[in-house]
Symmetry: C2
Amino acid sequence: MTFTEQWHSTVIKKNSILCVGIDPPEMQNKAEWCINIIKSVAPYAAAIKINRNFIHDLSRKETQQIVQSIHASGMLAISDNKIGDIGSTNEASFHHGAIEGFDAITVSPFPGNIAESVQNAHKNNLGIFILVLMSNPEFTVIKNALIDGKKAWRYFVEQSQAAGADGIVVGAPSEKNKNIDEIMSIKSQQLILVPGIGTQGGDVKALIECFGDRIIANVGRSIFNAQDPAAEAKKYNDMLNASRI
Amino acid sequence: MTFTEQWHSTVIKKNSILCVGIDPPEMQNKAEWCINIIKSVAPYAAAIKINRNFIHDLSRKETQQIVQSIHASGMLAISDNKIGDIGSTNEASFHHGAIEGFDAITVSPFPGNIAESVQNAHKNNLGIFILVLMSNPEFTVIKNALIDGKKAWRYFVEQSQAAGADGIVVGAPSEKNKNIDEIMSIKSQQLILVPGIGTQGGDVKALIECFGDRIIANVGRSIFNAQDPAAEAKKYNDMLNASRI
């Protein structure tokens, strides 16, 4: 079963397109803290995204325990690595991700090797998401860089689709970044992982109406920093479901 | 003392501009294996670069033991993360790198936030190297992408220098990638970390003649996969020193 198939069947089972992004702060018992959040939000979410930058201190066993708890709660596990290296070096990260049990991994297109990365990820039975559009203001120069006379971010989308990547990553549109028209113009039929959905989440509505259950709506801090992560996850899931057909 | 100052004083002390890149394979006792290589090459090298893709399984304690052994042998420790995220997320990696004891870290310019990354790395007392030129053939489209009418890789070099990054990363020139003229045209006064130096290493000669001890000459597989890593490190160091003034 491909990651895309797993996603759609999980969405039906959970009645949710919510992905909870977890960026654990520096602490003792980090794995336990992650697992508590995971168990709390499980009734309302279809996936958990763990950002690799925040778990460099965890041993493989601890990372495996986190992933096992995600699967035990019927959710999918995404490793947010944004890896951007070449050949065998990227493959090392795919290998680790697979051993840890993740279902998919995120990759940066910076080295230009999208096709190679998709092949290597799939060889390791991992779904792969290519980072194409970030929401920080400094990304503007990169997204508008010209590759073969085409805007770079659009080139990355096309390469991702041509290579058979399971999905792309696009930062949530907001008042600040005004990415909404660009995202709405994407013709690809892939999944779209959307991090950066905050307390408002207004613009995600339009994305869900346009792309349906291909949107993986990632909410991070607003849920994992909440006093009651379960209540917050429920609130977001209800909000997202109100926009689904 | 800045990383650049640390580099130049280590180069004098060790009479070496060799950096040994270590990509540990999947194994039991990975930290011990790394430490053995580190001790073997220590008489002939000024720095060790550990690629983060290969050590996702290590606990913080194990990573700290590796870094301690690098320092105990009088070398500098570079964490090759190629991190490419934004704000507080990149900062998490800098924070981990600092706690692990690394002296410097590598960063991808993909999110466009070079200035922010330099600030955050330095706040964590880490030197920072920006990836500007990769040696894989697929990188050609990225390096030639146009940003403000300028080739992207050159834009990244200029941004790195303007932001006060300690160095840049450029893949070693070879028969295949023909990067030599581009690298030789770099006007920046920063350090230049050059991975991808193989058994031939011919073209590094020209780089050393041009940039002197600002070249951090990284040799990986040829040394750590050798039957006698110490002898191989000595061979490379002698070769590199023959090109130094």
